[in-house]
């Protein structure tokens, strides 16, 4: 060979070829960068979303209270009938004593405004708990009004001109005086977790909405779980394999993709206008969501039944079980973990759903806690929607805090589903 000494000049090593290769590798690198940034972008979205909720919402779990010495004077409280005292006046007298230099009528009214309306009720409850307090003085921690709460949490810009602030200089001075004496405290907001809705942000709570959601989900589960499992068992195990079963199958798959608001229209037309069930009641919301959850449960139950190997069925039939017994003694118990997982995920989705509930009138302003499925109620996501509409600054943190409560419930339910799947699922 004469040319062994010459450098290799294969076409693959020509300059143009090297250039092409470089370009191809560059494209490869760029493509990889672009696709990983898509994933990163998604993660960033999630962080911003959850971050903004938590940043806005954590302070919703706190509230401001102020310490005040109140006197149950005979002038305002009748010893024989302690429930009927003038407790607002007692609070006002307490404030007057605390700020003796405030005497003008308008200023006194503003001074009373730093205590929440709930304050007078708290003073009354303390007396009812201990009637011997009549005629004596007592130091009580009373809830502050929402403006004071906002100021204390740092949401009021003190440098802004007075007329643009929610709270005037005079009130700020009072609050600062209270704070200096240690009479102002930030405590955990039990009211927020326990009570129903209110027009006053400092008194509003998610308790009513949580209970409402509970009743709704209870109705949803009681209706959709047996129905869905029964329907799936019939379709999967007993229905003759004919054309109409295929039609039902397609129909169920399509039903699962119908927008939730259309289910709301159905609920409005059927449950409210034809059946005349009570408006705003969890029973109607629950039935509407049950229809929405039904396809999910049917689909997961069928998948779970399909996942059981035929050998189990054959073995049971071989030892003399009837077809019904095969299902009730073997297939259903074996499929139950997967069915329950699917049902819990369906319930979690129903918990987060609000559009159909708006349609069946569950957007009412409900102060009382619902004690049954026929009481007027609202649901947690609908409460979020209602508060999100409120202009007051105090409701912004409450909305985010309610979202946090909602997410905690959702995470708990999904966690339970994952646990069930991993703990009980049988791999064939």
């Amino acid at each position: 060979m004469t040319d062994t000494a010459r450098p290799m000049t294969s076409v693959h090593l020509s300059d143009s070829s090297r250039g092409r290769l470089r370009r191809r590798y560059a494209r490869e690198r760029n493509f990889k960068i672009v696709s990983v940034s898509a994933l990163v972008l998604t993660a960033v979205f999630l962080v911003i979303l959850l971050g903004s909720v938590v940043l806005n919402g954590w302070s919703g779990f706190l509230t401001t209270k102020l310490r005040l010495e109140v006197t149950y004077s005979a002038e305002h409280v009748d010893v024989d009938n302690p429930a009927n005292g003038n407790f607002r006046m007692i609070v006002l007298d307490g404030l007057r004593e605390r700020f003796p230099d405030v005497t003008e009528r308008r200023a006194l009214r503003a001074l009373l405004g730093i205590v929440s309306n709930q304050g007078a009720w708290d003073v009354r409850d303390a007396l009812l708990d201990n009637p011997s307090l009549a005629g004596t003085s007592r130091e009580l921690w009373l809830p502050a009004a929402t403006e004071v709460d906002m100021l204390n949490k740092g949401y009021v810009d003190r440098s802004a001109p007075e007329e643009l602030r929610l709270i005037d200089d005079r009130t700020i001075a009072w609050v600062d005086a209270l704070e200096q004496d240690g009479d102002l405290a930030t405590v955990f907001n039990w009211t927020f977790l326990a009570s129903g809705d209110s027009r006053e942000p400092e008194l509003a709570g998610v308790g009513g909405a949580v209970l409402g959601s509970f009743w709704i989900l209870l109705v949803t589960f009681v209706v959709s779980f047996p129905t869905g499992v029964g329907a799936a068992v019939f379709l999967e195990e007993f229905a003759p394999k004919r054309r109409w079963v295929d039609i039902i199958e397609v129909n169920i798959n399509n039903l699962a993709a119908v927008p939730s608001i259309v289910f709301g229209l159905l609920g409005l037309a059927v449950f409210l206008n034809v059946m005349h069930l009570p408006r705003s009641a969890p029973v109607v919301g629950g039935l509407t969501l049950a229809l929405m959850t039904l396809p999910t449960i049917i689909i997961t139950t069928r998948a779970a039944l399909k996942g059981i190997p035929p050998s189990i069925r054959d073995a049971a039939l071989a030892v003399g079980a009837s077809e019904v017994q095969v299902v009730s003694h073997f297939l259903l118990p074996l499929a139950m973990p997967r069915i329950l997982t699917g049902a819990i995920i369906g319930m979690a989705r129903a918990l987060g759903e609000s559009a159909p509930l708006l349609m069946v009138g569950m957007v009412a302003f409900v102060v009382d806690l619902p004690s049954g499925p026929t009481d007027p109620a609202t649901a947690l996501p609908v409460q979020v929607f209602l508060w999100a509409d409120s202009p007051e600054r105090g409701f912004v943190e409450k909305t985010s805090a309610a979202i946090m409560v909602l997410l905690v419930f959702l995470i708990a339910m999904n966690g339970l589903a994952v646990y069930l799947r991993q703990r009980f699922e049988i791999r064939w």
Binding site: T42, V258, P259, V262, L265, A269, N273, M359
Partner: protein, 457 residues
Amino acid sequence: MILTLVLVCLAVAVFLAGRRKAVSLTGGRTSVLHSRPVYHGFYVALACGLPAMSLWFLVLLAGDWMIDRTVVAALPGELREASGPVLQRFLNDAETLAGGGVPTIGITPELEAAAASFSHLTLLKHWIGFGAALGLGLIAAGLAMRRIDISRRTRQPVERVLLVVLLALAAISVLTTAGIVFSVLFEAIRFFDEVPFLDFLFGVKWSPQIALREDQVGSSGAFGAVPLFTGTLLITLIAMLVAGPVGLLSAVYLTEYADPRLRATAKPILEILAGIPTVVYGFFAALVVAPALREAGAGIGLDVASESALAAGLVMGMMIIPFVSSLTDDALAAVPADLRDASLGLGATQQETVTRVIIPAALPGIVAGFLLAVSRAIGETMIVVMAAGLAANLTANPLEAVTTVTVQIVTLLVGDQEFDSAKTLAAFALGLTLFLVTLGLNIVALRMVQKYQEQYD
């Protein structure tokens, strides 16, 4: 309610008695029975419970009608001749009064008499009906008990009843679809009686306020839905411009590049994003994204509406990223490894393999996933209710406020309103449109996969 519970308890007691009798017949060796003791129990319980319950519910349903008739027959002449609604109102009031409530009209002697006869007849209905049901149940139970025997085939009838129950449950899912179609269609037809179909579909002016007075400005409501359709499409388009590329590329990265550990962390992130309630996205859009866009727009001299289509569309895009990504993921994962290996074996880079082999092979699945995502975006309600506008606006400018079909359904129907104004019925016409469009998209998506998906191996 309590009486119904008594009947249920009766059935349970009969079940226990039947099972016990079956066991005692065999002297403990239950294997000689044709059917297991439980079936004998169920057999007698069904024999007793079914007729008793049916009779009881019949009494409850038909009883009210008969009571109404009896009360009406006893009314003085002029009331009996009164028109339907007036009479109905009188009856409702009498029933309220009988139940201890406060009627809407003043208490008259006639009303008191009617109320008295109401409570009397209701009591009668309960006791006669309950007695008959209980008697029937006991007789049936006695007869069935006597038929329990070692060779008696009780399993077959019990199983047959169970199958009928299961069939009925399966029928509910079908009835739901029929219910949606008919309830929405029925109201929509009533709407089209008042507003011509073509005006609805092609009209460009939407202002559903019906005037209270004749001479009011803009007194005739306009129901041209084109601005709503364009608004919906605009927001959906923005959402898909976000979710399409991001969802597709993150699915490509997860299936083609990511190692299993990254996949195991990235998947839950997507699932969390998918599990967040839409009302949370709506709040985020209204509180964070819309003001941010507004400020950014002001910074570069653009006037961005505070309820701009862009804010709602961007957040809706975020919401459907996981949806697009998981459907694309499935489609990509379904492409057989042979194709991938062959392409890489020929010296193609991974990028070339993905763009020239895998994506074309998975295209029907990917397109179907996109169509489902579009259907999802069209039907999405809470984000647009909270972040998009209310006023209909025929524009393609994403910085302006537009309204959508779902927003209008919600605004038309939330709050108390009479049920037969064109305003309310319009919501059902919109709902019908929404239902048909999303249904169509789903069917096309399913078809697409069935028809164009290559069958490998």
